[in-house]
């Protein structure tokens, strides 16, 4: 026995010793900022500016064609004398895993997508290139394209670190089965009472006329299904922080929220809502809506109104007709949802190590400027003239090749695209839906700007809050206990820290006085 233990100790310490010494060697290169980034392999750091620099771009997503078939890449490569290599990974957490290890190993891509958390973390650790000095000089074109107010969202400690891609616009609205309304002789609901009545009729009066009681008023995915209802009470979904009347409001503390919950609880207790609401994932809710299970769903036109989807639900039932429904009017307002119209659709950062490669850095700036300028922007939006689009009477008309080949172009829109012009052009058949969704009244959300402060665990607080809200609306906890719920949030979960952080951030960004 003595020998065994001694052997074990000797073996373990040997292994540890070797491990530490080798580890020292390899993470002696732990000075991540000092190492050249991975994109350099093969590219020469020549004196002449005729070198074709390889630029690696890391992004989340998939669907790129093979490099030899990538027309946008080829066009950009040729124009700017570069060789773009896209490193794309599907699934954001998997993508971030790769970025994290690459950051630790010192071989980050030359441009890479980040979220707010990573941006802050990397910037504070000195891993990112500070863009501030270049904004008004070498990145002027890109900067004016992205606009200063958006770029502010990519600031850390007073410096600019992120390329902020132009914000997305809202796609969402309620959608309702128009044919069901007609079958039951109802008109489009305009306020909460009418909405309730319609939902009740959908559930109880067999709107599809098949003799079975198998339909519900609402379906959706978790609480998002009720966004316009929260809007009718002048608030946003639980957990949101938004701006109202020039002030920062946290939804939990908005007096309208418990009343909204009350309304929803009534819907659920009368069985007007799909029982699978909380278990729906991905496109399940939409699929069930298409199957004729429910008559009202909150979704983006991207999920309902594209040609292929219309065909799908018409196959199930040729008489089916889904139309958009505006948010109902309620006692405190009329909003579709809370949406951050000033949230960068993507944030890209550059590694600090690029400082040591001024020529390559210049090429990257060239790229960013080019795609922000008219010609380059048109390339990454619509592709190649004559092949993907034609200019007819001054308007851009897409060709069939665009539908087949053009689905990956948006990944090259590093700085974004002007959505008001782009969306109707790219989706001409859906133009009306796009415009309708765009014009709905919405609250300005600022969630995406707030990072959880130290000492506060967002995951725990969110879990508790979600669970309690669900209990409220499913009648498992009386709404009279709502204040007690808030108190637990503050005491046990320190929610006030988050609220204060929200206020602070809003002031920093100049969103409120």
């Amino acid at each position: 026995m003595r020998n065994w233990k001694r052997d074990a100790v000797v073996a373990a310490s040997l292994a540890a010793l070797v491990g530490v010494s080798v580890g020292c060697g390899s993470s002696g290169g732990g000075r991540a900022a000092d190492q050249p980034s991975g994109g350099d392999a093969g590219a020469k750091q020549g004196a002449g500016s005729n070198e074709k620099f390889k630029i690696t771009i890391g992004m989340e997503g998939s669907g790129l064609p093979a490099p030899q078939d990538d027309l946008i890449k080829k066009a950009l490569d040729e124009k700017l004398n570069i060789d773009i290599e896209m490193n794309m990974i599907q699934g954001f957490s998997d993508y971030m895993n790769q970025i994290k290890v690459r950051a630790a190993a010192g071989n980050l891509p030359d441009i890479f997508q980040v979220d707010l958390v990573a941006l802050n973390d990397f910037a504070q650790k000195g891993l990112l290139l500070d863009l501030t000095p270049y904004l008004d000089t070498k990145l002027k074109t890109a900067k004016s394209f992205m606009t200063e107010s958006l770029m502010k969202k990519g600031m850390v400690n007073g410096n600019y670190y992120a390329i902020t891609r132009i914000a997305d616009v809202a796609f969402s609205s309620f959608w309702i089965r128009k044919d069901w309304l007609e079958n039951l002789n109802l008109s489009m609901p305009t306020n909460l009472d009418e909405l309730y009545n319609v939902a009740k009729a959908f559930t109880e009066q067999d709107p599809d006329g098949n003799g079975k009681k198998d339909t519900y008023g609402f379906t959706g995915t978790e609480l998002g299904a009720f966004s316009p209802i929260f809007g009718a009470y002048g608030t946003a979904g639980p957990g949101s922080t938004f701006l109202k009347d020039g002030k920062v409001v946290n939804a939990y503390y908005d007096p309208g929220l418990p009343e909204a919950l009350q309304y929803i609880q009534r819907l659920i207790s009368e069985n007007l809502v799909d029982p699978q609401l909380m278990t729906n994932k991905g496109t399940m809710a939409r699929d069930q809506a298409f199957q004729g299970k429910a008559g009202i769903i909150w979704a983006g036109w991207t999920d309902i109104a594209k040609q292929e989807f219309i065909e799908q639900y018409k196959t199930v039932n040729p008489k089916a007709e889904w139309v958009q429904l505006g948010p109902p009017k309620g006692p405190y307002g009329q909003y579709d949802s809370a949406f951050d119209s000033e949230r960068p659709s993507r944030m890209l950062a550059l590694p600090k190590s690029l400082e040591k490669q001024p020529e390559k850095l210049q090429r990257i700036f060239d790229l960013l400027n080019y795609i922000s300028d008219k010609e380059g922007n048109r390339l990454v939006m619509y592709g190649i003239e004559g092949r993907h689009y034609n200019v007819v009477d001054g308007k851009i008309v897409l060709t069939e090749a665009m539908a087949k080949e053009g689905n990956y172009f948006h990944y090259y829109q590093l700085t974004g695209r002007p959505n008001e012009e782009y969306l109707p052009t790219k989706f001409p058949a859906e133009e009306n839906y796009i415009k309708y969704a765009l014009t709905l009244p919405r609250l300005q959300s600022i969630d995406s700007n707030i990072l959880p402060p130290a000492g506060y665990s967002a995951a725990d607080a969110d879990r508790y809050a979600k669970e309690e809200i669900v209990k409220f609306i499913y009648g498992k906890r009386p709404l009279s206990e709502y204040p007690a719920f808030l108190k637990t949030m503050e005491d046990t979960f320190k929610y006030k820290l988050y609220v204060e952080e929200g206020q602070k951030r809003a002031k920093e960004l100049g969103l409120v006085k």
């Binding site: 065994w4 052997d7 074990a8 073996a11 292994a15 080798v22 580890g23 060697g25 390899s26 993470s27 991975g38 690696t56 997503g61 998939s62 669907g63 790129l64 064609p65 093979a66 490099p67 078939d69 290599e85 490193n87 794309m88 990974i89 599907q90 699934g91 954001f92 998997d94 895993n97 790769q98 994290k100 290890v101 630790a104 190993a105 071989n107 997305d168 796609f171 994932k281 991905g282 496109t283 699929d287 069930q288 298409f290 199957q291 983006g300 991207t302 999920d303 065909e311 799908q312 639900y313 196959t315 199930v316 659709s345 053009g406 689905n407 172009f409 948006h410 969306l423 790219k426 989706f427």
Partner: protein
């Protein structure tokens, strides 16, 4: 034959259980296969699932096979599955065999070292740094070498090796056999069922390999099958934010599952013939 009716009852019970198990396993696969060839609209019309397709379409399969990279990724996966498994089996056998010999001095030390790695690991970053330091980054060997030995499989082989009777070894040694001969000419053939099983475990592991590829590879031509298929599916549960994204239908998802798993499912029946008994008997008598 007194036991005749008892035997028959026993057999009937056996067959019944097998039937239940077989059905419980195959019906979901039929569902996957059926949906993969049914146009999505029909699937919806049927209430979301189909067992016997009324309308056929191979559109999903055509789309999958038309994807850039799919054929290449098939080749990559074939390579790592065959070469990788061969390396795995060799190394695992070489490691398991000495550890199965109870007389080996300090055997427990090595065993502990092996088992310890099943529970403790340095994590993503140090492993990535080592892979980088050993020059494997962005090469196909990054999918083979860092996972060259699985302690679990070492322990399994060792356990099977230990079942072989000691006389076998003594008589072979008396005939002057070296350890290597013992291992490769006697022990391995006698442990074929275990070998095949461990080979299957490694093989399927390689076939399904995905995480290591995401971590270590940036060259698209090196991506294995599962990554390409997964990319195709955007099999995330999150909503698609870009309006340009085509969120795949259930039909596509099922077709992808079929493409990704059918080859392996088909292989196994051919391996079953190695699970024959009685080899041990012959060799002892011999």
């Amino acid at each position: 034959m007194v036991r005749g009716w008892q035997d028959r009852l026993f057999n009937t019970g056996i067959y019944a259980i097998m039937a239940v198990v077989g059905l419980a396993a195959v019906v979901p696969m039929l569902y996957v296969a059926a949906v993969s060839v049914t146009p999505y609209a029909q699937v919806l019309k049927n209430g979301g699932y189909v067992l016997f397709p009324s309308e056929w379409t191979l559109a999903a399969y055509r789309k999958i096979f038309g994807t850039a990279n799919l054929l290449q990724s098939f080749k990559v996966t074939l390579f790592i599955t065959t070469v990788g498994t061969a390396i795995n089996l060799l190394l695992t056998a070489l490691t398991a065999y000495p550890l199965s010999r109870k007389a080996l001095p300090h055997r427990n030390v090595f065993l502990f070292l092996v088992v310890f790695t099943m529970l403790f690991g340095g994590g993503l970053i140090p492993t990535y740094l080592v892979v980088k330091a050993t020059g494997l980054l962005n090469t196909i060997w990054a999918l083979i070498v860092p996972t060259a030995i699985s302690s679990f499989n070492v322990l399994i082989l060792k356990s099977f090796f230990e079942q072989l009777p000691e006389e076998l070894f003594e008589s072979a040694r008396m005939d002057g056999a070296s350890e290597a001969l013992l291992l490769f000419r006697i022990v391995v053939p006698l442990s074929m069922p275990a070998f095949v099983t461990v080979g299957l475990f490694y093989g399927v592991g390689h076939w399904n390999q995905f995480f290591a590829a995401i971590m270590y590879l940036t060259d698209r031509s090196l991506l294995p099958l599962q990554v390409v298929v997964r990319d195709l599916l955007m099999q995330t549960i999150e909503q698609a934010e870009n309006p340009e994204n085509m969120v795949p239908t259930v039909t596509m998802q099922m077709a992808a599952v079929m493409v990704a798993s059918l080859p392996v499912i088909i292989v196994y029946p051919f391996l079953q013939k190695h699970f024959t008994k009685g080899m041990l008997l012959g060799s002892i008598k011999g």
